[in-house]
């Protein structure tokens, strides 16, 4: 009913489809219309995390430990919640530094150390190899199970089969071909394999749909919904036990931690998440899409496990094959075949990505550095090494899959699926301290990383790898039970007497303790080399540097004159650099060829000059970096130094800006004070004016009322009252006129009738118009005017007003009978000066400054003169200033006051 050829044809058909998709993806990429520029494809490609181990093994683990399988998927969910912080940083660093693998990442962080890169590569290969063989085993086992359709009881590994009849071999060969075709098409700086990613994403869809199909079939086809399924299971005591946390064992927390680290540190996850990432923004969506994928693919693990346990109560069916066995037992060949394809896609996806990732590491971090070291190969002199690189990678792929297959044939069959997976996870987790520490701790040193990783790896080998050999019969079983040479203390599953934990938790504890302990303590006592320090800063502060990719160039121990000059120019400035180089050339009597390599003397010369500008130590670093045969590029150092100086410049600008701001705000404050003052003056003006207006108005009104209310008033009294009313009205009119005049003058709205004016005539006019006032108080007026004075330019009426104001002012303060007002006129060089002197009480010194202000007198109120509006002098000043003249007062208290008016001559 399900013949072998059909399974084979379906499998080949599926793999062909993968080839087609990958081919199409690469074609699209070549033509610029990439398939993978989507966060959904990206998230699906990360789902390569779910291997055959998830597909078959989760159910197996659930069947023995209930929810014990979940930490493997909760861990990545938690790590992705931190994706914004951690993942994003890894990706940014890798993009800036063109990181192509996890070994590259670690070696680059710790000063581009070959030793570290090689170490990481070896650990990755040793740790991941069992994982790859696990995938081959899963395909082989599921194929065997399916082949026995519909008999499910004969499951388990193939007893012995001929080499060429082994499915695992054919899968290995096909995967090698696929990886070589689509993983090593060309050497590319970005290491993007778009076709490969497209195929992986497709495989993720297939395995998800296949698994959910089985889950739905078991839950709702075989059983009557989840309630029924769990209800039946709860009735069986052994199954009810699986519904508690006790079944999950003590490994819950360690396994979560392990999975959290593995999702970052597994080479294949690094490959799809970091290296194949084409757009950082895709991480945004993947942060929740990938956990969602994990959630969906695990949703039916428990129902399938319980379904299997209920359906095959007598045992005999391996729980790892329930996913396949259930549809077979229920006579659903189509579904069974689909499940097989799903498992195949899970296995191939992992195999392909892991192989490509490992081959890149083997080539870049193990083989090439070794080859370059052998001088007799003269590799460094070759211009084009890409063919060699591709050859190495292809060979590495073949090597990895061959060894994966051999591992499976020789020892892989002895061990349950899940355990092999976790052993690999634990190996990958050894990279975590170096990666995380390297991203956030500048002080972490190369020797610290080497010691940490080595220590962790050794403990891993002892507590996990060697026991797995012992279990496979390569080492005596007593190694596990009694410890090496019978030393109980060193039993690999209970090292130093630590027991009560699962093997993985136990190993993880000791590995990480050794790893982190060595890493931190060695780093703390170590001194970093310059290149380490530089790389540490570049990694830790990656977001503070520009995202524009700067690639470190390979220096061959020499430096071109132009480069040296460019470096010097940055610190010394163009002109100064020209001088320095000119001086050197002149002294040596040669001309510098810019493309030629600088000789030692020139370098030293420049270093000394640089030391003057940036200090000896910095100059040494700079020059040493330009001369470095390998390692950090000049660009990076430039970037660091540039950044520092730019930051300084930036803060200097800020300081300046804040000073400017301070200045502006103090100006603003002053302006505000002035405005407040003006506002106060305006208020004062208004209140004084209204007060001044009210006084005459009140008397006019009261005398009018008397006249109105007492018609029988005699005539003389009536006349007297009327004369008061008239006088007060005149005063009112005068006041209003003065206010109007003043505002007109102040606002510049006054109409000036400018003409040449004879000032003597003006003064005579004023004196005569005030004649009766002086008569009334018996004040003597002396007018001493010279004849033939030159005319001045002005408005005659306003000048008369000016004179009248000053004369009436003098009149007000002069005492009766003994009063004397003297008017003098002097001709000056530029204008006439008229003085009006009185013999009144004088003006106190402090009053003299304010006397020309509006309402001054009214405000001071100590003169007690009701006739003073306080506007007269203000108007005078307005008139004089308009004519370009000056008005001032001289006075000694008790000896009268003299007002001077200076008005320039009319221009001829």
């Amino acid at each position: 009913m399900l013949p072998g050829w059909l399974i084979v044809v379906a499998s080949f058909g599926y793999v062909s489809l993968l080839f087609a998709i990958a081919y199409y993806g690469d074609r699209r990429a070549d033509s610029g219309r990439t398939l993978v520029a989507s966060p959904y494809i990206y998230a699906l490609s990360i789902a390569v995390y779910c291997t055959a181990w998830t597909f078959y093994g989760s159910v197996g683990r659930a069947a023995s430990s209930g929810v014990g399988f979940l930490p493997i998927y909760l861990g990545p969910t938690l790590t992705f919640a931190l994706g914004w912080i951690v993942l994003r940083k890894i990706i940014r660093i890798s993009k800036v530094h063109h990181i192509t693998s996890i070994a590259d990442f670690i070696s680059s962080r710790y000063g581009k150390s070959h030793l570290l890169g090689g170490l990481v590569t070896i650990i990755a290969v040793v740790g991941i190899m069992p994982y790859i063989s696990l995938q081959l085993k899963a395909v082989s086992a599921s194929f065997t199970v399916l082949l026995h359709y519909p008999d499910v009881t004969l499951s388990g590994g193939p007893a012995r089969m001929p080499l060429f009849g082994d499915t695992a071999l054919w899968v290995a060969v096909l995967m090698a071909v696929f990886s070589i075709l689509f993983g090593t098409r060309h050497i590319d700086a970005t290491e993007h394999h778009e076709g490969l990613v497209a195929a992986i994403a497709f495989e993720s869809v297939v395995k998800l749909i296949a698994f959910i199909s089985v889950g739905l079939f078991v839950s709702f086809g075989v059983f009557d919904g989840l309630g029924d399924l769990f209800g039946q299971a709860a009735a069986v005591p052994e199954l009810a036990r699986l519904m508690t946390m006790d079944a999950a064992g003590t490994d819950w927390v360690p396994l979560t931690l392990l999975a959290m680290l593995a999702i970052m540190c597994l080479p294949r996850q690094f490959q799809v998440t970091v290296v194949e990432n084409v757009d950082e923004s895709h991480v945004n969506k993947a942060i929740w899409l990938f956990p969602l994928y994990l959630f969906l693919i695990n949703l039916f693990v428990l129902p399938i496990a319980f379904g299997g346990l209920l359906r095959f109560p007598e045992g005999g069916v391996d729980a790892d094959t329930f996913v396949l066995a259930l549809p077979m037992a229920e006579q659903r060949p189509g579904l069974a075949l689909f499940v097989f394809i799903g498992g195949l896609s899970a296995a191939t996806g992992m195999t392909i990505v892991a192989t490509v990732a490992l081959s890149t590491m083997i080539c870049n971090d193990l083989v090439m550095p070794a080859l370059l070291r052998f001088a007799w190969l003269h590799l460094a002199e070759h211009k084009d090494l890409s063919r060699l690189l591709l050859g190495i990678r292809r060979a590495a792929i073949g090597f990895i899959l061959l060894f994966g297959y051999l591992y499976f044939r020789l020892i892989g069959e002895s061990y349950a699926l899940v355990s092999i997976g976790l052993v690999s996870f634990a190996a990958a987790a050894q990279f975590a301290p170096a990666i995380l520490g390297g991203m956030y701790w500048k002080g972490a040193s190369r020797r610290g990383a080497v010691t940490g990783i080595s220590a962790g790896f050794l403990v891993w080998t002892y507590t996990l790898l060697l026991p797995s050999f012992a279990r496979s019969g390569w080492l005596p079983e007593t190694f596990i039970d009694n410890g090496p040479f019978g030393i109980e203390f060193l039993k690999p599953y209970a090292l130093f007497g630590l027991h009560g934990l699962g093997h993985i938790s136990h190993a993880l504890f000791w590995c990480l303790l050794a790893n982190v302990g060595a890493y931190i303590s060695v780093s703390l006592v170590d001194r970093q080399s310059i290149i380490e320090r530089i790389q540490a800063t570049l990694f830790v502060e990656v977001f503070r540097q520009t995202s524009a990719g700067t690639h470190s160039g390979l220096w061959q121990g020499t430096v071109a004159v132009t480069d040296l000059r460019a470096m010097a120019e940055r610190f010394l400035g163009r002109q100064r650099t020209d001088e320095v180089f000119g001086e050197y050339a002149h002294r040596r009597g040669l001309t510098l060829v810019s493309t030629a390599n600088a000789d030692g003397e020139l370098v030293q010369f420049v270093e000394r000059r640089l030391a003057g500008a940036i200090g000896a130590a910095s100059a040494r670093v700079m020059v040493a970096s330009t001369l470095k045969g390998e390692g950090v590029g000049l660009e990076e150092i430039m970037q660091i130094l540039d950044e520092t100086s730019q930051v300084l410049e930036y803060s200097r600008q800020l300081e300046q800006k804040s000073k400017e701001l301070e200045h502006a705000s103090s100006e603003l404050k002053a302006a505000n004070e002035r405005l407040t003052e003006l506002d106060q003056l305006k208020d004062d003006f208004l209140s004084t004016v209204t007060h001044e207006l009210r006084t005459p108005l009140t008397s006019i009104r009261s005398f009018s009322e008397i006249l109105h209310d007492t018609p029988d008033l005699d005539l003389s009294e009536r006349q007297h009252f009327l004369s008061i009313i008239i006088r007060e009205s005149e005063r009112l009119t005068r006041l209003i006129n003065q206010v109007l005049d003043l505002t007109k003058i102040e606002r510049g709205k006054m109409e000036w009738q400018m003409s040449d004016v004879d000032l003597c005539e003006v003064i005579d006019h004023a004196v005569s118009s005030l004649h009766h006032l002086f008569e009334e108080k018996s004040i003597t007026v002396d007018v001493n005017l010279a004849a033939d004075i030159p005319p001045i330019r002005g408005d005659r009426d306003q000048l008369i007003q000016l004179a009248i104001n000053l004369l009436s002012n003098a009149e007000k303060f002069c005492p009766c009978d003994t009063g004397r007002v003297t008017i003098d006129l002097e001709t000056g060089a530029t204008g006439l000066t008229v003085s009006f002197a009185d013999n009144g009480p004088g003006i106190p010194l402090q009053e003299q400054e304010h006397i020309f202000e509006k309402f001054h007198q009214a405000r001071s109120e100590n003169t007690g003169n009701p006739m003073g509006s306080g506007l007269g002098l203000a108007i005078c000043r307005g008139i004089v200033e308009h004519l370009g003249g000056r008005i001032w007062v001289q006075s000694e208290p008790g000896n009268g006051a003299t007002f001077f008016v200076n008005i320039p001559y009319a221009r001829v």
Partner: protein, 91 residues
């Protein structure tokens, strides 16, 4: 600047989601919901329900935080920062 602050803010929010996850999947808290086969909701053991619903809530929160950002800002991390410090190194 404002957008940058928002992004930092979302980083903090995701950090909080992470901490919530640590709390939710802590054995101590799980223990409360560990009623074995006897305590079931619609036939599904409470333990299973708790773990999967908690998981879904966590994913939902992550989706809300990240999706809201991309909807608001419409920008990506690729976007060049307008922060002066970042432009300084451009040559």
């Amino acid at each position: 600047m404002a957008r940058m602050r928002d992004q930092n803010r979302d980083g903090e929010r995701l950090g909080a989601v992470f901490l919530l996850g640590l709390v939710l999947f802590n054995p101590l808290l799980i223990q409360i919901f560990d009623g074995g086969a006897d305590v079931a909701v619609f036939g599904v053991p409470l333990l299973y329900l708790y773990l999967f619903v908690g998981w879904a809530v966590l994913i939902g929160l992550m989706a809300v935080v990240t999706e809201r950002t991309s909807a608001d800002a419409g920008t990506t991390w690729e976007t060049r920062s307008t922060h002066p410090e970042d432009q300084l190194v451009e040559r």
